[in-house]
Symmetry: C2
Subunit: 226 residues, 2 copies
């Protein structure tokens, strides 16, 4: 395909189910659009604190609607989101995102590992209502993602190192500096400019912005129908 | 067309530009989908207070993004939204929404008047950066909407009556009771059930929910292209 592939940076945290939708859509469109998708694991807690945003869970009507909205979107996007029994109890994602950051650091260049580990963590929390805070949980996600068993212990140690803590902090700060107030936070690099999108409901606009076409959240299914 | 038209209730306030997008899209789809669109002028201030939601304007990054997002959506939807010079200064919409409620009350059954007056008020505030609080402003909007000049004075008086205050309050309370936390708040009546949608970015899902097809925000343009 002619022309340089457009870089799209996806900032996310597995605590956020809307980010899971955006993540899966962009993964699917890597084979449809002329893009270079780059994962930017970051920390939602830091974004909320740094931007002064408040959790939607604090507004009861918004919280109720989100459950319904997510169930509808899960079907439409073909992503198996099941809200946890008690969303207010969703545990912190700091250790999980440090683990993902460690994977990104130690297996630099192997985006597939970052992708698979992130997906397994989302599956745990937003599909299976399972823990993502304990080392054993992260280890299990790593194994399911296909990481070599003998590397996982190392990755867990790396995840709690100062280097990784700083890297996660700096990615989160970069998102804040680029205007983030929640996830997914997506930056499209188009003709030397950064175009920022928030959420998983602006893909039609994003397609237009990068000169591509939106074929719905499940492009393979769409083209099969066409 | 076979089958009963599905009732769609649109709760809105002209203070909200996203509600303008939803309003125009649903007005366009009255000629495309088999729906009976019913306008429910309500008061955003009451929704925010009653639901405990906070204005997005309070989060600086969100506020910056909204300006960009609205400019993109305005183009994409073909609605002439231009953010006011100082959005934080947007005046209250209470008198404007009482005026719209008075139009709905006194010209019952003439949905076209409610539609036109609402659109003229949106144009003032979200296109022309003009006042919508003073009687002269409401009067001008009424004239542009094609209301008879000799009725406008009556409508302004009616707008400040207890009856209209109560009607606006009760519509706002109904929206809150149905889960609203912002506008547009849209209720689709499907097979005896109420399906609620928030925002102007769920029309694909809404179409699916009511058994219709989404053709983009400008269906006439879309079909012309097809």
């Amino acid at each position: 395909m002619a022309g340089t592939r457009k870089v799209i940076e996806l900032f996310y945290d597995v605590a956020c189910p809307y980010a899971w939708l955006g993540f899966e859509v962009l993964c699917r469109y890597r084979n449809v659009w002329n893009i270079d998708l780059q994962f930017r694991p970051a920390f939602l807690g830091g974004i909320m604190h740094g931007s002064g945003n408040k959790s939607p869970g604090l507004v009861p009507n918004k919280c109720l609607y989100m459950g319904k909205d997510l169930a509808r979107l899960a079907l439409y996007f073909g992503v198996p989101i099941v809200s946890p029994e008690n969303p207010a109890e969703v545990k912190g994602s700091l250790s999980a995102m440090r683990f993902v950051t460690a994977v990104a650091e130690s297996r630099e260049g192997r985006q597939a590992d970052v992708e698979n580990v992130s997906r397994e963590l989302w599956k745990r929390i937003w599909s299976g209502d399972e823990d993502i805070t304990l080392p054993a949980s992260l280890s299990e996600a790593g194994l399911k993602a296909g990481l070599p068993a003998n590397e996982i212990e190392e990755l867990l140690q790396l995840a709690s190192s100062q280097k990784i803590k700083e890297r996660l902090k700096s990615t989160t700060q970069k998102a804040l500096d680029c205007g983030a107030f929640g996830f997914p936070h997506i930056i499209c690099h188009v003709n030397g400019k950064e175009e920022m999108f928030f959420g998983s409901d602006r893909f039609e606009l994003m397609a237009h912005c990068i000169g591509e076409q939106w074929l719905g959240p499940q492009p393979a299914k769409t083209s099969a129908r066409m």
